[in-house]
Symmetry: C2
Subunit: 405 residues, 2 copies
């Protein structure tokens, strides 16, 4: 009955690779992509410039579930210790989003402070407003697993009415934001009291597109009889299959994840094997996270390139003297034609072009004559990123050929 | 490791009740319902008259599954013996529908002979034609469980192409026919080789409306590892939940159902408990079947009553001398109006009326002046059935108040 997961001291968990790779990625961005972004005002059209902390952020695991399924206990179990501000109890206890992160000293940092901290990847949470930030905090402490992972504990999902009355912010939006930024989403269920409220179903549906990150945990599996466990597990899969559209069943880890001994030892082998598998899955996070970040930068770099061509193309079409406004209107109106011309001229894939209606909206706020001219030398840096730097980095992350995607 | 299910010698399985109840039901039909049916030519509009064997037919269990999941072995296990014509093997073996029924001597009766046998409830199979009857047979032998149950073994479902090429009759229609007449439908799956082909999905979808009869068997559960069993079971529920629209998961029996010892004994307790539950479920069949037959007769009697009113009403509206054809056309055209009048006059529930378009079709082939006149005395027998005989019989079947529906 091991209650301390073996991997906590396992050196495999510490692939020095991860910090190295993200440093390199960050430097590629800063030296070759950012200059193009800033010249062509990418942030005014698409997304804020990336900051160092966006790269350095550790792989993130989001925990979701009805209240009392054992989310907080699960994190305590992985840490092998209590974390600052931790509360565990039979009633709804966790009442906020908590980022459990590595820190040399134990401390709790309020949401408002976290969101302005340049070293933490939570700036964007400002947009959820003060009432959300009042329900968000970081809990810093030191534990082996935190060197390579940040956990996001969440308030348990309540049934519809209670949920809405109790909360001053949009729970599902907050969950969606975290789910897009994290590398693994753990959906926890309680074998003793299976409950999938409509509210939680909406939550799961909001994770659409993130399906490959989702893992399911059927927790407290040791406190029901073997037949009962089968019924509960079957009912869980039956219901999840109806909510999640993928034909392949999600991976479910059936065990008990806390630091107490198993109650019912009939399935001891299963429970232990499932624990091992889940811990193994967590160990692969740094690599998965690195690959995800690389892919995101690739997607961004392609968009940056197309963006630079679009702006310089529009600029080039503007008249030198009069008729500026009408020409600008005409170009906007015929934007699809202009896109086609750019695509053909520079041989760009159509999939790299931005959404045309959204782009038109942005264009309205600009004077095309202020757009920078075509700077081929600058833009060619992006090609270098895509054809040399990134493939090189991918090799470092996935040294064995079969893992290279 | 008991390999012979204990209930085979269990007297509980033999509720003398069942034959008694169906005899009474048969006599109610013959004395009070049939006279109305034959006077008002019910068979020409709705369904053939019922025969004694329709009542006396034993509770029926239909087995369905991909090939080689162990359907035939399952029946052998329940019988505690081989049955005539039985074939078991790793390749697709059973190539026909087989009704395994009680008989003092061991013998196989070809489909054509079964379908004309007045003692067997398979007359209606004639409508599937000779090529189906060539792939149907009855296997008679003596075994305790057969005193109270008939099993329908079926050819394993193959993948789409093979299925269609190999079969000269419509498999799904045949399955649908049996599913409507049986009391339990067992869907068997092989834990070792889970396969739910599109063909089998179509089969399951065709069982719509019979959901409450369906039970699932995850067979050969002892020849995979405990973790593998969980994955397979989860995948099964995930897929079934997508095919079957009910929110509640179907009951699945996870075990191995044949006469050999379990291979993997890790889940011994579960496997044994699941076997016991399934056998217990089979034991409740005679009562369930009796209740189902009573309900069906109630539905039929209500339809018969309405039918008698409709025909006598149309007859009464016909002119004595001329204009018969045009009056008949007018009545048919305004049938909805006539239905409303009948409904109001005799205070009949709208739900008891037949489908109007189908009824119009039938009317075309009749001369309304040949319809019998209203015979209130005759029809009042039906009310007697509904208000006295059936409630009395229901009490006998469900003596405890909480079981009465
Ligand atoms: N693996 C487990 N087996 C049995 N009981 C557990 C397990 N994990 C936690 N519990 C118990 O369940 C209750 C809820 O635990 P916990 O507070 O960790 O859940 P939670 O999901 O974080 O709840 P909330 O959503 O309210 O924050 C506590 O009483 C805890 O002791
Ligand atoms: N419970 C069981 N555990 C392991 N093997 C089994 C079990 N039941 C049957 N088998 C084996 O599986 C194979 C198929 O068995 P069987 O012929 O009963 O299946 P079936 O579903 O009737 O196949 P078909 O659809 O082709 O008629 C045989 O080799 C049989 O010995
Ligand atoms: Mg909690
Ligand atoms: Mg067979």
């Amino acid at each position: 009955m091991e209650s301390n997961p073996s991997f906590l001291t396992d050196t495999e968990l510490a692939p020095e690779l991860y910090p190295e790779v993200v440093e390199k990625l960050c430097s590629i961005y800063q030296k070759k992509v950012y200059p193009v972004e800033s010249t062509y005002r990418f942030d005014e059209f698409h997304a804020p410039f990336l900051r160092e902390c966006d790269f350095r952020a550790k792989p993130m695991v989001l925990l979701l579930g009805q209240y009392s399924v054992g989310k907080t206990s699960f994190i305590k179990f992985l840490l092998g210790r209590d974390f600052p501000g931790m509360m565990i109890g039979p009633n709804p206890t966790t009442d906020r989003f908590v980022a459990i992160m590595h820190g040399d000293d134990d401390r709790v940092i309020p949401g408002n402070a976290v969101a302005v901290d340049d070293d933490k990847p939570f700036h964007a949470l400002n947009r959820f407003g003060a009432s959300f930030l009042g329900k968000f905090e970081a809990s810093e402490c030191s534990a082996p697993v935190l060197e390579y992972t940040t956990f996001i504990d969440t308030p348990g999902v309540l049934s519809g009415e209670k949920q809405r009355i109790g909360r001053s912010y949009d729970f599902v939006s907050a969950v969606t934001w975290f789910s897009e930024r994290c590398d693994m989403i753990l959906l926890l269920f309680d074998a003793h009291k299976l409950d999938i409220s409509d509210e939680f179903k909406r939550c799961i549906e909001a994770l659409k597109g993130q399906d490959d990150k989702i893992r399911v945990v059927l927790n407290k599996a040791d406190i029901v009889s073997s037949q009962e466990l089968m019924r509960v597990y079957g009912a869980l899969m039956w219901s999840l299959g109806k909510v999640v559209p993928t034909p392949e069943a999600m991976r479910v880890y059936i065990s008990s994840f806390w630091d107490k001994p198993y109650k019912n030892e009939e399935y001891l082998n299963l429970f232990e094997a499932e624990r091992r598998d889940l811990l193994g899955d967590l160990k692969s996070l740094p690599r998965m996270s690195a690959v995800r970040k690389i892919n995101e930068l690739v997607k961004r770099a392609r968009l940056v390139k197309v963006h630079a061509f679009i702006l310089s193309h529009l600029r080039a079409k503007m008249p030198a003297l009069w008729g500026k406004q009408s020409k600008q209107d005409e170009l906007t109106h015929n934007l699809l034609e202009e896109f086609r011309e750019i695509k053909k001229k520079y041989r760009l894939p159509v999939g790299d072009f931005p959404d045309i209606d959204r782009f038109k909206e942005h264009l309205k706020q600009h004077d095309f004559t202020t757009f920078p001219k075509l700077d081929m030398k600058l833009i060619s840096k992006i090609d270098e990123v895509l054809s040399v730097d990134i493939p090189q980095l991918m090799k470092e992350v996935s040294p064995t050929p079969q893992i290279v995607e």
